[in-house]
Amino acid sequence: MRRRMRAVLVAVSAAAALMVTTTQAAEKPIKIGIIGPMAFVQGENHWAGAELARDEINKAGGIKVGSQKHPIEIVKVDSNEIQSVPDATNAMERALTQDKVDFVIGGFRTEAVLAMQDVAMDYKKIFLGVGAAHEQLGLRVQQNYDRYKYWFRIAPIKSGDLGKVLFAGLGAIAAQIRNDLGKPVPKVAIVAEKAVWVESIVKAAQDNLPKMKMEVVGVWQPSPVATDVTAELSAIRRAGADLVFTAISGPVGIVMGRQMGELQIPAIPFGINVEAQKEGFWQATAGKGNYVSTLDTYGEGVEITPQTLPFVNAFKKRFGKPPTYTASTYDAMYALRAAVETAGTIDADKLVPVLEKTDLVGAAGRLVFDKLHDPVFGPGYVTGLAVQWQDGKKVAFWPNNWNGVTYKGVQTFKIPPQMMQKKN
């Protein structure tokens, strides 16, 4: 009888324990919407970076809000923004009201992100931008803080700062040209796609390059979606340029890389070439994009912070290719976790001041926000990388002793062989 009593007791307590654990496991998850053009590489990386962070965080028990631990649930939101802006705003509204997400991370095409930003702000939801570089997004925070304070940009650094990185990288390459080719004043052709974001960069280039002892031989502005730049390249070759300074985000970047290689234009392409940041660039140029160099966020084997290599390696292992910059959703998730755990709430208004004080060593650098909710750029913060395609591999070559910053794993920049004929 007694034994039976005990058995019942054990069973009851076990059941009770089970119930407790199940209620704990069924703790309401924190829902995060990952928004991006999911049929395209940018969206794929948005999602992949977020998946990686979700699994790591959930494996560690989830996000601690107060005393409770909540798992993370990520929701895939296809904005289709490359093809349609209204689709993007609809997707944002759907995520916020139908999927009822607590936070949104992502975005890529600026025209669409501006529209989506407004929708998110209408609902006072925190929107962490990963993908659009335009300064306007941050300026809105300054102009109307109460409305736009829920917006933070995680990556990339804003376009003005990208310009600073460009000149630093350009200086390094010019030094190498002077040294190896004996050309005291390298000639630079500026090739910028016709877009607003390049304007400040083109203007700064025209002002700064002569001061940096370089000569600007011309500015070419093809359409971001041009499918052929042989005409531009012929003109550049005729102008005798040693450097082709690019500011390109569209597919014309691939065309540039490929046709430069095929025509063996004796000049070094360097600048922003978003397509050249992608792993698919080598394939897309059929291997002709050798020596093309660009700014980037991650590089294989490059240790920006202690977090970088574990992230890049885990990413590559799981998805079969290294991350591009929209995979910074990974850092965004960790920034969010840190803020929620410090604030002890997922209430957006209470989270904003905490997020503003973010100081997180992420995979892309040390993330600290400025007044515009943009990531602070500079040595010791986020710097970005400059990479060059060398025989099918993307190799980082900058920062190499820039203001005291050298990342482990950076290698030397290679001057294309066809340049060597120009040696004086």
Partner: protein, 349 residues
């Protein structure tokens, strides 16, 4: 008391003899009523947003029909008017802080002027030449916008413009009422004397001219009116999503208008509206199912193709012919079960 009863009686008679006499009209009436009552049932902002977008594109598609369907000027660059409306109203709102109540009409008028301006060279063109030439105009405008980024915002467009209303429900009613009023107006135009001349120009321009009709003037009128309505849609759209960018001028949007118009049935006004109300929410509904999200455009294209194979004149004429018969003598429409015409009493079958 009588004063009150009279209008109610009038309305009742009008409803019974003019609206409920025909199933198609009854459907339109009930559907409009349902749209107006929807917020009582649900104020879900997502649902409201989809209906608002649907309304905007319904006006846009109907305005294409006024030009392409009625007058036969098959415009392949209809996004031009949408974009002009959106850009004009956004620029005024952004630079001069004019209220949307002023900028939307100005945007519409700019689009109307744009319509007339484009119409002038198009007077000399016909058929496929006209279609393909009109395709060029929005693309030339995009080129200009990119050439003057300080003015147009380049690829970003004009953002940060004011909304018409703050609350979704208010915006909802604005959109629905605007759509109902404008589409009814367009339908009335199509039914009027002017509409008849538009039909004549499409069917045989030489004959119309021979009958003493100044076809040039009427073609320009069609361009202007179509531009006006599309401009209202564009301006309202810009103030709703709060950005006017180059995507409002894209080829894809122009093609969208052609698809909606032909899918619904041309020269009807209600056809394109029905098409938008079916296709736009359908693509969104498909997007709600995660497994189908990436397939939505494919599904849309296949649906359009299948419908066209079975109803080459479009959806609404096919449906209408199933439920209504035309009187052989007076050309009035009747419910299919009637044995004699409701107007002249001729035997129908």
């Amino acid at each position: 008391m009588r004063a009150l009863i009279y209008p109610i009686r009038r309305a009742y008679i009008l409803l019974r003899t003019e609206v409920f006499a025909l199933p198609s009209r009854a459907v339109v009436f009930l559907f409009s009523l349902a749209l107006l009552l929807l917020p009582l049932y649900s104020t879900d902002p997502y649902v409201l947003r989809i209906v608002i977008m649907t309304c905007v594109f319904a006006i846009f598609a109907a305005s294409w029909d006024l030009l392409a369907g009625y007058t036969g000027q098959v415009n392949f660059g209809h996004a031009l008017f949408f974009g002009i409306g959106a850009y004009a109203s956004s620029l005024l709102n952004y630079h001069f802080q004019l209220s949307p109540w002023i900028t939307i009409p100005i945007g519409a008028i700019s689009a109307m002027l744009g319509g007339i301006l484009v119409g002038i060279p198009c007077l000399r063109l016909r058929g496929s030449y006209l279609s393909l030439a009109t395709l060029a105009f929005p693309l030339i405008l995009i080129g200009l916008l990119f050439a003057f980024p300080g003015f147009s915002g380049g690829e970003l467009g004009i953002s940060g413009i004011q909304r018409l209303f703050t609350y979704p429900v208010h915006n909802y009613y604005a959109a629905v009422i605007l759509m109902l009023v404008l589409c009814f107006a367009m339908w009335k135009i199509g039914d009027s004397n002017t509409g008849l001349i538009f039909h004549a120009i499409r069917e045989d321009e030489v004959a119309a001219r021979a009958s003493g009709i100044n076809t040039k003037r009427y073609k320009l009128l069609a361009f202007g009116l179509s531009g006006l309505f599309a401009g209202i849609a564009g301006a309202f759209f810009a103030h709703f999503i709060r950005i006017a960018g180059p995507s409002t001028l894209e080829v894809a949007l122009s093609f969208q208008a052609v698809i909606w118009g032909i899918f619904g049935g041309v020269a009807t006004i209600y056809g394109p509206v029905v098409a938008v109300f079916i296709l736009y929410p359908l693509t969104e509904a498909v997007a709600v199912f995660p497994a189908l999200r990436e397939y939505r455009l494919l599904i849309l294209a296949i649906v359009v193709l299948l419908v066209l194979l079975f109803m080459p004149q479009g959806l609404t004429p096919w449906l209408r012919n199933k439920i209504e018969t035309v009187c052989r003598r007076c050309k009035n429409r009747n419910v299919f079960w009637r044995r004699e015409c409701r107007v002249c009493g001729t035997e129908l079958h």
